[in-house]
Symmetry: C2
Subunit: 639 residues, 2 copies
């Protein structure tokens, strides 16, 4: 521990211990200056947590740091009032604040996105966190429930909710404003972290919010606007708002995404070539080094102005990357290629996106076909119903978002489209239990159940990059109705290979590894890779299991599965999904109904809400890595 200005080295990471916050707090400093200091110390710790975890949201943590600090250090009655962030991806800042005031154990600083640590998005298992967030747009509604509960108990309390500005594109936000005004929820204060930049671009470019203050006021809310990094402004504003006991209140806090580190501040970034780089993910070692230096220098200056010595930072080793990228494959480059090829063939193809143009591999498409690309913002319901209208009028919409959102937020809208029997391809990224860092709001492990029951809907998942194109082509050239392409976003090592001359055949799988003692039926990059790993482990024990890739998640061919059931004495299904409503349940039901042979059957998959953590530790904890799968099969065989 020591003053490290000028000594930042790439093999190390730096954080501020709780004792330093206490030292600063004891100083005889004006409160606004103190809070500004705390906010910068919080930024240093949030940056540490993200660098240590290898992923996280810097930009939003930094823009929100002053608001959060002000709330906890000045505005809230911590015994009664509550605060939470509806967007939730600013969790590193919130954790840092909670650690600095002793609500959370200091040791958790080192456990962001680790098993039994701090999840990537808020979960109520963490002390001080009052609700699970990260699925956007729900916060104000949940806060209203808390207000109602407090009223019912006769102990009214104030509830503070932070939302993003991109988050305001979600319809639920506006749905939730109405009754807060009608029920005179003066207890409720919303702070919009108006940092102007969402996942990909500026909010203005993605889906401009228009006359934001007028909107809130038309909905009956008292609306103020201020500089979200100015603690004097907050103090004055909260004092004014306290006088209003009837109307719910919203503060539009003009903030800067990445605030606090000059080269991370996203004020002028909005060109096609330059997107905001610090929304999610970890900083490079070089960026980290520069950012720490800058934060330390400013902290030192602020402390010096208060006649305090520089902040003493603690040192931790930078963790090593778990696996060389060269061993891993990625599905999204293959998807981009497949999309571009079909776009060239079919002029009616039109792509829709919900603020994930980068993650969904859509930049080349947008550049090549700007007139056939609709950026919908974070408005999945609107996107899906627009796709419905497009398909009715002869277009071929390809609808993009993360699977966790795409299969659930517009669930009724997808069904409405399905009843029209039009061809729409839904492409879901970030599918499955990994990456597990972001936590359950982003781990998509219930798509098959959520939408797989719709008539005409066919859901498919490729197990390797080579399978992406053929499956996407099948959706467009063969299938007449709606389809859902479930894509893993996490790079992953796999031994899976397609058979020679592979062509998708509805409801039928194919053998990716031979074996006679039984077969593991799985789908997708993770599922098939770990099934192969399990079979390899079992082989060392003298048990020869085949691995069958079944890319069809919600349809299975009766004759094919009967043949499989006759060929193998044991069938193990493996779901990267909850067991109830997953692929395995469908496969086993088909065996019961259609197969003459009756193999012994075992289903593996998720029983519980998956934890947040590193890939290896989460898979191991759930028994879904190769070793765990092999162990389950061995136990089953000996039972």
């Amino acid at each position: 521990m020591g003053d490290l200005i000028g000594e930042v080295v790439q093999s190390e990471l730096y954080y501020v211990a709780r004792s330093e916050f206490d030292r600063v707090a004891r100083a005889n400093a004006p409160k606004p200056a103190l809070m500004s200091l705390y906010a910068d110390m919080t930024r240093l710790n949030a940056l540490y947590m993200i660098a240590n975890a290898g992923s996280g949201h810097i930009g939003s943590s930094f823009s929100a740091a002053d608001v959060m600090t002000h709330l906890y250090l000045s505005e809230m009655d911590r015994d009664g009032d509550v605060f939470f962030s509806s967007k939730g991806h600013d969790a590193p800042a919130l954790y840092s604040v909670l650690i600095s005031i002793g609500v959370l154990e200091e040791d958790l600083l080192h456990k962001l996105r680790r098993l039994h640590g701090l999840p990537g998005h808020p979960d109520i298992s963490v002390p001080g966190l009052v609700t699970n967030t990260g699925s956007l747009g729900m916060g104000i509604s949940k806060a209203k429930g808390m207000v109602e509960a407090a009223r019912a108990k006769g102990k009214p309390k104030r509830v503070y909710v932070m939302t993003g500005d991109g988050e305001l594109q979600e319809g639920q936000i506006w749905e939730s404003l109405v009754s807060a005004a009608n029920r005179q929820m003066g207890e409720l204060t919303v702070i919009v972290d108006h940092n102007k930049i969402q996942s990909d671009y500026s909010v203005a470019r993605t889906s401009d919010l228009g006359a934001l203050q007028a909107k809130f006021e038309a909905f009956g809310w008292l609306c103020e606007r201020l500089d979200g990094h100015d603690h004097d402004a907050f103090t004055a504003c909260f004092a004014r708002l306290r006088k209003e006991t009837q109307r719910p209140k919203v503060i539009i806090a003009d903030t800067i995404k990445g605030k606090g580190v000059s080269f991370m501040e996203g004020v002028a970034i909005d060109s096609d070539v330059e997107m905001f780089k610090f929304h999610s993910g970890a900083p490079t070692a070089d960026h980290y080094q520069k950012a720490v230096l800058e934060l330390e220098q400013r902290l030192a200056a602020k402390l010096a102005a208060l006649e305090l010595s520089p902040v003493r930072v603690s040192v931790a080793p930078r963790p090593e990357a778990p696996l060389a990228a060269s061993e891993q494959v990625k599905l999204f480059p293959a998807y981009t290629n497949a999309l571009m090829r079909q776009a060239e063939r079919k002029s009616e193809l039109i792509a829709l996106d919900a603020d994930l143009i980068l993650d969904m591999g859509l930049i080349p498409f947008r550049d090549a076909y700007p007139d056939r690309f609709i950026e919908c913002g974070i408005a999945e319901q609107d996107m899906v119903s627009q796709a419905g209208g497009l398909a009715l009028d002869g277009m071929l919409p390809i609808v993009h978002s993360f699977s966790c959102f795409l299969s659930t937020r517009p669930n009724e809208q997808i069904y409405n489209n399905a009843t029209e029997k039009t061809r729409i391809v839904y492409v879901g990224g970030l599918s499955g239990v990994i990456p597990a860092g972001p936590g359950h709001s982003h781990q998509s492990v219930r798509e098959i159940s959520a939408i797989g029951g719709m008539p005409g809907m066919v859901m498919i998942e490729p197990c390797c990059p080579d399978e992406v194109g053929p499956l996407f082509d099948w959706c467009i050239e063969t299938h007449e109705g709606p389809s859902f392409l479930r894509l893993a976003s996490m790079p992953y090592a796999t031994a899976a290979k397609l058979p020679a001359g592979y062509e998708p055949s509805r409801g039928k799988g194919y053998v990716v590894r031979e074996g006679a003692d039984g077969a593991i039926v799985a789908a997708g990059l993770l599922g098939v890779a770990e099934a192969i790993n399990a079979a390899t482990a079992l082989a060392q024990d003298g048990k020869n299991f085949a691995v069958i890739s079944l890319p069809w998640l919600n349809v299975v061919d009766a004759a094919w599965i009967s043949e499989i059931a006759a060929r193998y004495p044991v069938i193990v299904t493996l779901d990267n999904h909850y067991l109830q409503g997953g692929q395995g349940q469908m496969v086993l039901a088909a065996i019961a109904e259609h197969a003459h042979a009756k193999p012994r059957c075992l289903s593996l998959g998720l029983h519980e809400v998956p934890p947040s953590g590193r890939t290896d530790e989460v898979l191991a904890a759930m028994g879904l890595d190769g070793a765990g799968i092999a162990r389950s099969i061995t136990d089953f065989l000996s039972a």
Copy 2:
């Protein structure tokens, strides 16, 4: 056919033939007067269709009749422009207009809510209907898709969308406004049928819309307001709006629900004891008679003013009611009792509703516990997230809506709550394929798949009124997490009886009819009733099938199902739900995985989007009445 004023008799129904519309159209009358005439003739026909069908939405059809008439007779270019109603329950008025102008065959007047006829809510299989609606809030988004498609093809067209006013409570409406303004969709005109009354009460009382015009304007829309029954006002307004080519336009049409029949006009109805009676359902014979007389008299007066002879109405016999109510049982009175009993026991119990207080049996609760009742309006996402907040703070929320909406619109919100592992009871009405009159937007046949995969979620469905209380009690007193009580709303005849001393036992069913040749496993009022009917039919053929009621829709006890599989040589599962993701798939998968005995298995349920129609004809068409089920089992046994 003839002038029937004064001759309206209760055994008859009356309508206006196409030829009468043509006669009026040939008259040399001013266009506004002509449209007003058409609108009243349309009302008479909509009333006929609803009386003939035995159900339908009078209030909304009558309030919308002038708007629709004006659009088709004056405003739209019928070769290019399109209109649709987003609320959709005004379909009888739309069908009447489309019949009057020859877009639909006249014969369809007699086939509302009948198989191969006109579905209760719009479906694109009907000529002139451009999109499926009835699931609220999607219309503007779908219209935007149509605008984009037309732009992409280089053939811009105007799109007119009608919404309800209660419908504006859905967040998707506000979500959809944003890009219409940003993308300068001057082609788009929304007409709000502002009839001030939603399903139960006035909009103002349910969830007041506040400064509606200011809201639309803050969202960047050009907003006008007019008397929605004044054709001169429409003519002038549309002329003005045509000049605006950039901004999307919204017309708030002040209308009267039930307009055109004095005692149906819901202008002053808003007390606790008197709700609006003509939202849905059929008019009584007495009300029908009076309404026809009033409409005829006004038509005669209007025609006389134009020096035309009175309208000639055609006569059809009033259809007989299909089954005496005394033979049928209802689940909702039992639910109301169960809720009231638990409310008395548990002061933390709080009920939430989404504008279905009457249908969900909540009036006694609201009257007894006004402070523990939250009317959320048509805002299911907001309702469910509010329930999440309430449950986090120690309340016991019971969340109500129709199953089709409750399991889908707030799908991600239910999951978010489930990850918090709080106790919330979701109660879904109108579950299952019947009543089939409203059509697929309201036929809830995918709840199990939509939410049954969530960890901790237990879904249950009672087969008779006596089972409602024990299952609801189980949700509150035994189960710790979220549950979903799936309730049929349709009265139905059933021979199902609970065993003596019945108590719910998680995942285990019970025998409601003995038999040794096989067992039919089913759930719910319809499922178990028709399984018994099927077993009765099979018995006449010498096959003795047991019927097992399994009220657990998404959990099955492994030991119990193994025992069932050992006891019966044939297991037939019966789903009032799509097969994929339904109860049957779960049962068969459990047999494959857990049972040593391997009975022959057959799964019955829905493969396709169910048709709209009368209960008997729809069940027969899908093979899900007793006779159809028996036939499928017979075929299976002889295969």
